[in-house]
Amino acid sequence: MKTILFLLEKEFKQIFRNKALLPMLFGMPLIQLIVLPLAADYEIKNINIAVVDHDRSAFSSRLTHKIDATGYFRLTGFMDSYREGDRMIALDEADLVLEIPAKFENTLQREGVERLFLAVNAINGTKANVGASYLSRIIGDFSEELNQEKRNKGASAPSSQIIVTSSNWFNPHMNYKFFMVPGILAFLVTMIGGYMSALNIVKEKEIGTIEQINVSPIRKHHFIIGKLVPFWVIGMVVFSIGQLVVSRYIYHIIPVGSLLLLYAYLALYLVAILGFGLLVSTYTDTQQQAMSVAFFFVMIFLLMSGLFTSIDSMPEWAKVIAYLNPVTYFIEVMRGVVLKGSNWVDLQNHFLIMALFAVFFNSWALFNYRKSS
C-alpha cells in the first residue's frame, strides 16, 4: 500500500511540474466547454433567401413581407431575373430562391390556382429540407389568409378542426445549450482521460524508465493504480470545474437529478475510460503511436456517441456500434440526470453496463501489460 503512495507522489509531481501540460489539461477543456456549446447550435434559422419577383404586385410583396417577418429567413436579395438568383445560390449568398411568376396576383384572382417556384441549395440536405418546409408552410398560411379574406366577403364554410397542443418537458425554453453542454463536458472528460492515461504509460516506455520500474519489487497492479489514480483525480477535477462552475455560472444549468448519482457514474466511467487508455498503451511503444491509436478510437467514439446526431436515426448495424461505445452511455446519463432528473432506478442498466466496460478494458489491459514478458 505504501508503495502506491510513493508512486502517486511521483506522478503528481511530474504532472504538476509539466508547465506545458497543465494549462492544456485544465484550461483547454474549459475554454472548449465555454466556446463549443455556443457554436453547436443545430436549430435552423437565418436561412438566406433571395426573391425573384416578376410580378411586383400587392400579393407578391405581401408574401415577401410575410417571409421576412417569420424570423427564420433573411432576405438577402430581391431581383427581377432568375439568373441572378441562380448565381446567388452558387456563391452561397442565398440558400433558397423563391421565384414569383409574372401575373401571380392576376392569375390567383382569376383562376384560383397559381404556382410558385422554389430553388433550394440542397448540398446540406437537412437544411434544404427544413428551409423548404418552412417556406411551404408560410405559403400555405398565405393562401389560407387569402381564403379567409374571400370567405369574409362571402359565406364561411364550417370545418372541424383538430386542435393540437404541444408542450416540451425538461427544457421548457427549448435551450439547445442545455442539451449540448452536458454532452460536450462528457466528451471532454473522455478525451482527457483516454489520451492522458495512454500517453503517460507509453512515455515511460519510450524513455526507458519502465525498465527501472520493472526490475523493482513494485507489483503490476500497484504500478497501474499509481498511474491511473492521478488521471482519475484530474478527470474528477476537470469535470467538477466544468459542471459546478462553467455549466452553472455561464450556462445556468443546475442538475435536476442527484449530483451524487452523477459523480458515482463519473467515478465508474473514468475507471472504464482510463482502462481503455491503459489498453492502448499496452499495444503501443511510442507516444506517436499511442496518440494515433487513441485518436482513431476517440474519433469513432465521438461520432458514434449520439453527441451530435441521433442514435435512433442510425441504421441497425450502426446502433450496435453506438451501444458498444462507452461514451454513449455517459452522455445519456449526463443528459438524463442533469436535464431530466433521472434516478438510480432509471439508470441502473447504465451502471451495470459501465461496470462491465470497466472490468473488460482493465482486465484486458492488465492481461496484456506484462511486467515480465
Binding site: 483547454m28 381564403n147 372541424s160 383538430i162 386542435i163 425538461f170 438524463g336
Partner: protein
C-alpha cells in the same frame, strides 16, 4: 552552382527517404493516417445523419376507438416514428422520458371519434422530451404534419374546397435526393487533411527534439530550412494520397459527383495541405514535448475545426465573436472551395477570394514559425 544543387537534391532525398521509413515502419500510426478517413467516410456515409427518423414515441390513447386507431396507424406508418409503447396512465409519461424509452408522447382524448363526428374540435396533446430541443421541435413538426394529413382525410367527406390555392414547385439543386454525402465529404476532407498535417508534422518534429536527434540533423551540413522541408514533404505526399483515397471512396461508395476540374481541386488542396503543414510547424516551434504538441493540435484543432468549418453546425447561428473566430480557421475556406468545385462545378473565378485567403494564411504562418524556429536555434 549546378553541382551544389545536385548535392542538395541527393541530401534531400536521403532525408525524405528517412522520413518515409519512419512513417511506414510505424503501422499503428498508419491506422490514423489511412484508417481514420476511411472510417469517417463510411460512418458519415452510412451511419450518421442529421435527419431525424425512427424516433421512439409512446401513445396514451384514452379513446381507443376507430379514429384513434387510424391516427396511430398513420403515425406508425411514417418513417419518422416508431410507436414503442402504449401507455395506460399519465403517470407513466415521465418514466418513459427519464429512461429514454420515448422522446415524445401523443395523448389522444377520450371520445376522439365522437367529437370528430360532431365537429367538437377534439384536442390532441403532444408532449416531448425537450432535453434535446432540436429533435423535440422537429418531431413535433413531423407529427403535426401527420395530424394535418389525417384531418384533411377526415374533411375529405365534407367537401370543403379552398377557393385560392398556391402550389409551390420545388427544385432541389445539386443534391436532389437530399443525401448527406455532398455536405460531409468536403467536411471530412478539410478535417482529415488538417489533422494529419498539423498533428503528424508537429509531433514528428517535436519527437526529434525530444530524442535529441534534431541536434544531429541541425549540425549536419544541411540548411535547417531543408530539414524542415524534408519533414514536410512526406506528409504532403501522404495527404495527397489520402485525398485521392477519400475522393475514390466518395465516388465509388457514396456516388458523389466531381463536377468541376479535378486538377483545380488537387491544386487548391495542395495549397490547403501546405497551410496545414505550416500550422504544424508553428506548433512544433512553440512546444517541447510530444504530449504538449499532441494536446495542442488535438484539443486546439480537432473540435474547433469540426465546428467552425460549418459542416456540422451552421456558422450563421453562432454568436458574432465566434463567427469572427471562424474566419481564422483555414478549414472553413477549404470547405467552401471543395463544395464549389466538386458539387457546384464552379471554376477559379468563383473561389479566388477563398484561395487568396488560404495563400495569405500560409505565408503568414510560415513567416511566424520560421522566426520562432530561428530564435530557438540561436
Amino acid at each position: 552552382m549546378n553541382a551544389t544543387i545536385k548535392i542538395l537534391l541527393v541530401q534531400m532525398k536521403a532525408f525524405i527517404t528517412k522520413e518515409f521509413y519512419h512513417v511506414f515502419r510505424d503501422r499503428k500510426s498508419l491506422l490514423l493516417l489511412f484508417g481514420l478517413p476511411i472510417a469517417q467516410i463510411l460512418l458519415f456515409g452510412f451511419a450518421l445523419t442529421n435527419e431525424i427518423k425512427n424516433t421512439k414515441i409512446a401513445v396514451y390513447d384514452q379513446a381507443g376507438d376507430r379514429a384513434s386507431k387510424r391516427l396511430i396507424q398513420r403515425v406508425e406508418a411514417s418513417k419518422y416514428f416508431e410507436v414503442a409503447a402504449m401507455l395506460h396512465n399519465p403517470a407513466e409519461i415521465e418514466g418513459h422520458f427519464k429512461s429514454g424509452q420515448a422522446r415524445l408522447v401523443l395523448v389522444i382524448p377520450a371520445q376522439f371519434e365522437a367529437d370528430l363526428a360532431r365537429q367538437q374540435e377534439p384536442t390532441l396533446q403532444i408532449i416531448t422530451d425537450g432535453s434535446d430541443p432540436n429533435t423535440a421541435n422537429t418531431i413535433t413538426n413531423y407529427l403535426n404534419n401527420i395530424i394535418q394529413d389525417f384531418q384533411t382525410d377526415q374533411k375529405g367527406n365534407l367537401q370543403v374546397r379552398p377557393e385560392v390555392r398556391i402550389v409551390p414547385v420545388m427544385r432541389m439543386l445539386y443534391n436532389p435526393q437530399l443525401k448527406g454525402a455532398p455536405n460531409f465529404v468536403p467536411g471530412v476532407m478539410s478535417l482529415v487533411l488538417l489533422l494529419i498535417c498539423v498533428m503528424m508534422t508537429s509531433i514528428s518534429i517535436v519527437r526529434e527534439k525530444e530524442l535529441g536527434t534534431m541536434e544531429v540533423l541541425l549540425v549536419s551540413p544541411f540548411e535547417p530550412i531543408l530539414v524542415i522541408l524534408s519533414k514536410a514533404i512526406p506528409y504532403l505526399v501522404l495527404s495527397l494520397v489520402n485525398l485521392t483515397l477519400i475522393l475514390v471512396l466518395s465516388v465509388v461508395l457514396l456516388e458523389m459527383p466531381i463536377n468541376g476540374s479535378l486538377l483545380l481541386l488537387f491544386g487548391i488542396s495542395t495549397i490547403y495541405i501546405i497551410t496545414s503543414l505550416s500550422l504544424g510547424l508553428l506548433i512544433s516551434s512553440v512546444t517541447d514535448s510530444q504530449q504538449a504538441a499532441m494536446l495542442l493540435s488535438l484539443m486546439g484543432m480537432m473540435l474547433p475545426t469540426m465546428l467552425f468549418t460549418g459542416f456540422m453546425f451552421p456558422i450563421e447561428n453562432m454568436p458574432i465573436p465566434l463567427q469572427v473566430i471562424s474566419h481564422v480557421v483555414p478549414a472553413r475556406y477549404y470547405y467552401v472551395i471543395v463544395k464549389a468545385i466538386m458539387i457546384k462545378g464552379l471554376g477559379l473565378s468563383a473561389i479566388w477570394k477563398e484561395t487568396a485567403i488560404l495563400v495569405g494564411m500560409t505565408i503568414f504562418l510560415l513567416v511566424v514559425s520560421w522566426r520562432k524556429f530561428k530564435i530557438r536555434l540561436e
